[in-house]
Amino acid sequence: MIRKKKVKNPRLTLTKRNINAWGYAYLFIAPTLIGVLVLNLWGIIQSIYYSFHEVKGFNDPEFIGLENYVRLFSDGEVFRALKNILVYAAITVPIGVTLSLLLAVLLNAKIKGKGLFRCIYFLPVVSAPAAVVLVWKWLYNKDFGLINQVLETFHISGPDWLGSGSIAMVSVAIVGIWSMLGYNMILLLAGLQEVPKELYEAAEIDGGGAVQKFLKITVPLISPTLFFVIVTTIINALQVFDTIFMMFKTSSPAFSAVESIVYLFYRYTFTNYNKGYGSAIVVLLFVIIMAITGVQLKLQKKWVHYND
């Protein structure tokens, strides 16, 4: 990605013409760079700074050293939220990615109505989560929701999807999978379309079955896209907020089984007004996600096949 420095790039020497060209370049990147420095880079520093302070309301932050972190690592609620997002990721990532891969492979074949199917699977992606969650809340309604009503016709008494701690996370995960399926499918479909058709023809001559073709040709060749999809899905899963925020009040009996790290961060920072502790929570999430990104960059070199 980053090109090796040439020994002496003539365009990097101090001449009038070059300085003029640099001026243009800096001007071109200035809006984006200033935005990133002020809104993002400064934000990271500021959040880390707050995490070592007690910040109540708009008072001046008071330095308290590691106190927030000491509390963080002995806070049952934090561990519970960590467990919750891991459970959420453990459900949504394998199922979500497998389903989107399945759909992408099926849509990549010669079939009729491809555009229509693609359009339908994509609908949840263009729908605002706030609206989508309200819809699912209605579907999940214990007594009058469509799901339990349908189950009733088969004489199954449906669970209390949002009220029972043992199933609430599954309900959240279903919405998560339903919402992201179309997005991942499009990415994988784009990867599949770059696999040369001749490879499949060659495999057919050799007598390879569909499963074998899939495992021996498709998976290795789309591994860069697949890897990208898996990693972004994991990272997004760990940041889950909207669904849980819209579906569960803090007073809900299932709340402790679904509260995520971002929800916890939101509650401390914006409703409990303990911005310092809220910042420590978000720094924890930051460290976890950066660690995953680091592992990703390492692993990528190992098992992803790039053909260029």
């Binding site: 990097l12 071109f28 002020v38 809104l39 609908l123 910042s279 950066m290």
Partner: protein, 274 residues
């Protein structure tokens, strides 16, 4: 031949079942939005509403200013798209084609921002907005999305894919860097610009946390935060809630149906180029 036919039946069955699952929540939303409360609560369910009256939509619009929510959402998206498309094109071009000291370090900062979870920026951004006294304004909604590192990255990839001889010819003709960029290179990256625009729009459209935090006053809410409000007021009147949801789903849905190809291609490029 027989084997192929059986395979096809399998493929269509899976595709149709999945399509049904994907679309059912939408259909049920539409049907519920036209029902009365007692029709919605029938056991076993009544599938079709007895009349297709718009009363739930009217009721919801009377309780909350959905027209205003729509305008606020539209303005937020418009300014974010204009800003991020233009600034990303500029920065992307500089990183792809211009030579200047510090380029690698500055590009690394852009990449770093893309990897960091967005929640870490939220409190500091909120503090900035509140210090500027911008809370409860369109400016507050727009601010975090006015530039886009992902857009910059995508545009850089696009510019890198263009042939160099075009620019060299322009430079020989005495074109300035600005003119080369604006007149020659930029028109060639239209698909990239559309892609960045769609991404920005979709991201802004789906954002809940930021508007929830900065704009608490009713007349500055977006469709999403308006729904949160509606939910607070009508936690049990499902026909009205579904009418509200439908109002908040339709604008982007219609846009998507018109620009399907651009949406799908825009998303697809993000995977292959990223």
């Amino acid at each position: 031949m027989k084997h192929k036919k059986r395979k096809n039946i399998f493929v269509y069955t899976v595709l149709i079942i999945m399509a049904f699952i994907m679309v059912l929540p939408f259909i049920w939303t539409i049907l519920t939005a036209f029902k009365t409360q007692s029709e919605a609560l029938q056991v076993p369910p009544q599938i079709l509403p007895s009349s297709w009256s718009l009363r739930n939509f009217k009721a919801v619009m009377e309780v909350l200013p959905f027209g205003k929510f729509f305008v606020n959402t539209f303005l937020m998206i418009l300014f974010r798209v204009l800003g991020s498309v233009f600034f990303s094109a500029l920065a992307g071009y500089a990183f792809a084609r211009l030579v200047f000291p510090g380029k690698n370090v500055l590009f690394a900062i852009i990449l770093l921002q893309m990897m960091v979870p967005g929640q870490i920026f939220i409190l500091p951004q909120y503090m900035i907005v509140s210090k500027l006294a911008w809370l409860n304004s369109i400016k507050a909604l727009v601010l975090p999305g006015i530039v886009s590192t992902f857009g910059t990255f995508l545009m850089r990839q696009f510019f890198m894919g263009l042939p160099r001889d075009l620019e060299e010819a322009a430079v020989l003709d005495g074109c300035s860097i600005w003119k080369t960029f604006w007149k020659i290179m930029l028109p060639l990256t239209k698909p990239g610009l559309v892609s960045v625009g769609i991404f920005t729009a979709l991201f802004a459209w789906k954002d809940l946390l930021w508007p929830l935090i900065v704009n608490m006053s009713i007349d500055k809410m977006t469709l999403s935060t308006g729904l949160v409000n509606l939910m607070g007021q009508y936690s049990v009147d499902y026909p009205q809630l579904m009418a509200g949801s439908l109002i908040a789903i339709l604008p982007m849905l219609i846009l998507f149906l018109f620009f399907q190809k651009q949406f799908v291609e825009g998303i697809a490029t993000s995977g292959t180029k990223g």
